[in-house]
Subunit: 215 residues, 2 copies
DNA sequence: TGAAAGTTTGCAGGCTCTGCAAGATCCTCG
DNA sequence: CGAGGATCTTGCAGAGCCTGCAAACTTTCA
């Protein structure tokens, strides 16, 4: 799946190093004072490159915080493929959740990095905006996949888009709650709970540990 | 409900006029060439005011397109109140939908303005999210209201936030589809269909006119 | 080793947005 | 009606983001 770790020359190594350094510094500074109080110059200077170079790596300042994944489209395609490959018995909602699972696990595995990121994002709405702005293309791919799996028409039917947006909402809610809990439970657990609640038609919860307080 | 239409001096009249002119011009220009190809100077010049004045009316360029409502917090509070006042028999999802209903009807009543707005927003996705991922403040108010209605704890329980985000997703999906259909059906109808589907646990649709294609 | 390919950087410049202070306009009250 | 005060508008300066462009530099590869 992961494409390559072949030769990997000096040039490529340096680039990754610089990129990683920019991300790391940016996250640290933004965690300290909020992204809006950190200029591109600050980040670039501390990384020992020019501000112009910063923009060779990231199209916008916000992306240094958000854009951990260098290839979001590829990731989306993989989710779409997983969706189509999911067990036939799964309902659409559960199938989508199942397809997203590996990426949610990744968040749990990189817990601290993600918690830091989310803290920064919560503090600066501009990041929230940019986070979803990129996703036009991804959205289409996933909606198409849902349509294919359900035998509906991506552009003519409402259902695929609705499902996509609803699961997106669940994802957001789970992420936010996870952050509130300081990552003390797995994101996957919260997400699963959200999906089950949705699959049940969002009834008022009664005695569900994860949905209610820690108890 | 609408607070006042008392005296209304010249000054206030002029301000509203300027504001309205800016909005109108901005929407027209953005519809023609996309918001990113319209500068604040363009808008201000055509409205006969300085660019500096533009920023006295709108905190950011995007707000001239989105910020139709001068008091989003007040509107949010009204939705929250309506949520608590909704018939006791309604399930949480339906109660929220019920509370939002008046504002959805407003969109239908101002159909063309909104279609134009959404066209612009669709072309510049950053605006889409900003539209719903409104202010943290609004979110808190609504989540609190959901918590109160369901007898849960807004900060300790997951359910209120989840419900809020899911309904937000439904709203987005409905809006997008409404725009695709060129407003040929009422947004309210699409929204209701979305809510019913969610209340049913998002089953694959069968023979539902609104959810499937026009047939 | 030397050309080809890829990177970094400074520079110029466009654009968004903010504070500030001067000037124009409206409103209120005597 | 005519101050005097309140409110708006505007120009200006300046910080910041971001983009081409071309020169200088580094890595790669034949």
């Amino acid at each position: 799946m992961t494409e390559g770790e072949p030769p990997l020359g000096l040039r490529e190594r340096k680039k990754r190093e610089t990129r990683a350094k920019l991300v790391k510094i940016a996250i640290r500074l933004a965690a300290e004072r909020g992204l809006e109080n950190v200029t591109v110059d600050d980040i670039a200077a501390e990384a020992g490159v020019s501000a112009r170079t910063f923009f060779n790596y990231f199209p916008a300042k916000e992306d240094v915080i958000l854009h951990a994944d260098p290839d979001p489209i590829g990731q989306t395609r993989r989710i779409a493929a997983a969706l189509l490959a999911a067990p036939a018995g799964l309902s659409p909602v559960r199938a989508v959740a199942h397809a997203m699972r590996p990426y949610i696990d990744e968040v749990d595995d990189d817990r601290d990095q993600w918690l830091a990121r989310i803290t920064i994002i919560e503090r600066d709405p501009a990041l929230m905006v940019r986070m979803f702005a990129t996703h036009k293309e991804s959205e289409r791919i996933l909606v198409d996949a849902v349509a294919e799996r359900t035998g509906l028409d991506a552009s003519g039917d409402f259902y695929p888009m609705l499902l996509f947006k609803v699961v997106g909402g669940a994802m957001q809610a789970a992420t936010q709650r996870w952050h509130e809990l300081g990552g003390s439970v797995r994101l996957a657990e919260l997400f699963d709970a959200a999906i089950e609640t949705i699959a049940a038609g969002l009834p008022v919860p009664v005695g569900t540990a994860v949905l209610e307080g820690k108890t």
